[in-house]
Amino acid sequence: MNKSTSWFNITSLVVGFAFLYVPILILVVYSFNASKLVTVWGGFSTQWYVELVHDQAIIDAAWVTIRVGIISASFATVLGTMAALVLDRYRKFHGRALFSGMVYAPLVMPEVITGLSLLLLFVAIGFDRGFWAVVIAHTTLTMCFVAVVVQSRLVTLDRSLEEAALDLGCPPVKTFFLITLPLILPGVVAGWMLAFTLSLDDLVIASFNTGPGATTLPIKIYSMVRLGVTPEINAISTILISVIAVGVIAASVLSHRSQVEKEKAERAVFLTN
C-alpha cells in the first residue's frame, strides 16, 4: 500500500466520521445553552433538563414509549428467532418463498405504506387504535430485523453439538433450549436491542396507529419540532442519545468479552486434547 492512498484513506475516514458525528455533537452542546435562542451561545446551563423533568406530557410519552419498546421488542425477538430458525433449517416447504418474502420485505418497505396498511387492517377488524395497535405494528416491523440478525448467527453455528444431543436422545425442543439458544444468545440479545431502539425511534408507523393516551416520545418530539427548534428538544435528544449509546457500547463490550472468553476456552480444550 503506497503512501498517497493511505493518506486518502485516512482523510476520507476523518471527513466521513466528522460528517456523522459533528451534527450530533452540536445538538448535545446546545442542550446546555442558557439562551432560549438555539444558535446564540448564552453560557452553560442545565435549566432545560430541569424543565424537562417537570413536563408531565413528556414524562408520560416517555413511559408509553418504553413500555411499547419492551413489549414489542420481546414479541419481535420470539417471532424473529422462530422465523430465523425456519429460514435456516427448513429449506423446503410449501410457501417458503412467500415466507422469506414477508420476512425481508419490511426491511425496505417505506414506513408510510406499512403504517397506513396496518391501520386499515385494525379498522377493518374493529381493533382500537392505541397502545396495543402500536405494539403489534412495531412487533411486525422489528421481527424482520431480529430474524436477519439471528439468522447471521445461525449460519456460523456448529450443528454437530445439536446432532450429538439429538443422537443421545435429547428431545428437539429441549435441545433447542439447552444447546442452540445459549449458542445464538448474543445474536438474540443484539436482535432484542435493535428491535427496542427501532421501536423507540419510530414516528411514522406509530403516528398512523396511535390513539388517545398512547402518544409516544417521537410523536411528541415531532409535534414540538413543528412548532420550532427549542433547547428543550435538544435536552430530550441528548438524554435519548446517551441512553442508547451507553446501551449499545455496553452490549458490544459484553459480546466482545464473551467472544474472547469463548476463544480462550476453545484454545484450552484444544491444548488439553
Binding site: 485516512i10 466521513g16 456523522l20 450530533i24 445538538l27 422465523a83 425456519v86 411514522v204 427548534v229
Partner: protein, 302 residues
Amino acid sequence: MAERWTQDVKPFLAKWALVAVPYLWSLLFFLAPFLIIFKISLSQTAIAMPPYVPVIGSLGDFWAKLSSFTFDNYIFLTEDPLYYSAYLSSLRIALVSTILLLIVGYPIAYGMARAPKSLRNALVMAVILPFWTSFLIRVYAWIGILKPEGLITVALQWLGFLGPNEQIHVYNTEIAVFIGIVYSYLPFMVLPLYAALEKLDATLLEAAADLGCPPTKSFWVITFPLSLPGVIAGCFLCFIPIVGEFVIPDLLGGSETLMIGKTLWAEFFNNRDWPVSSAVAVVLLIILVVPIVIFQNQQKKA
C-alpha cells in the same frame, strides 16, 4: 400410544408450530393489510368514521357489490398533476441521493476496509452507532445547522465569507433534503460496501501492481467490480425507502419539496381522505415492486 406421542407426534407438532406462528403473524399483519389497502383504494370517500364507504362488507354480497367498485381514486390521481409530479420528484430525489450516498459512502467503506485489523471493529461500531440513535433527532439536528439564522450562517459570517446581514438559504430547499437523506442513510450504504470490500483479496491488487498496473486503473479493473454486490445491496437498501421518505422532506424540505410520502401523509392526516391515500400507497407499492423483488433475490444469494 404415549410413546408414539413423544416420538412422532410431539416433534412434528413442535416443527409445525415453529413454522406456523411467525408465518401466521406475517400473513395477518403484513400481507393482509396490503389486500385491505387495495380494497379501500377502490371505495368511495365518505365523511364518516372510518371515512370511507366499504365496497365489500362480507363475502356474501361480494358479487352484488362488485359493480360498485370504483376506480375514481386512481383516475383522480391521474387528473391532478400534483400526484404525478410528486411520484416523479420522489423517484428523482431518491435516484440522485442514492448516487450521492455511493459517492460519499464508498471512500469511507474503502478506508475502513484498508484500516488496520485491530481498528476495524471499532470503526464498524462507529458507523452503526448513529444508526441506533433516533432518526428524528438526527434530522432535527440539521434544522439548527441549516436555518437562515443557523450555525452555517453564523460560521460563514464569523469567517468573513458572508456580511453581517447576509444569510444562507438552504433550509426548506431540496439541497437540505439531499443533505438530510445522505446523512441519515449513510450507514445503510457504508455497511454493505464495507462487507464486500473487506472480503477483497489484497494479493490481487499486489499482483496487479507488480505487473505494472497503476493504482487508479487497478481500482477500476479489480476493486470496484469485486465490490459490486455491496454496491447493489447498498443502493437498493437506500433507494427503496427513500422513495417513500416522509420525515426528511417534511422537516427539511418545506413546502417547496414535493415527495409522495409527504403527499400521502397530508392526504391521510390533513384531508382525511382514506381512499385516495390508499390509492397513493398502492401506486407507490406497484412502482417499488420491481426494486423490492431484485433486492430480495440479492438477499437470498447472500
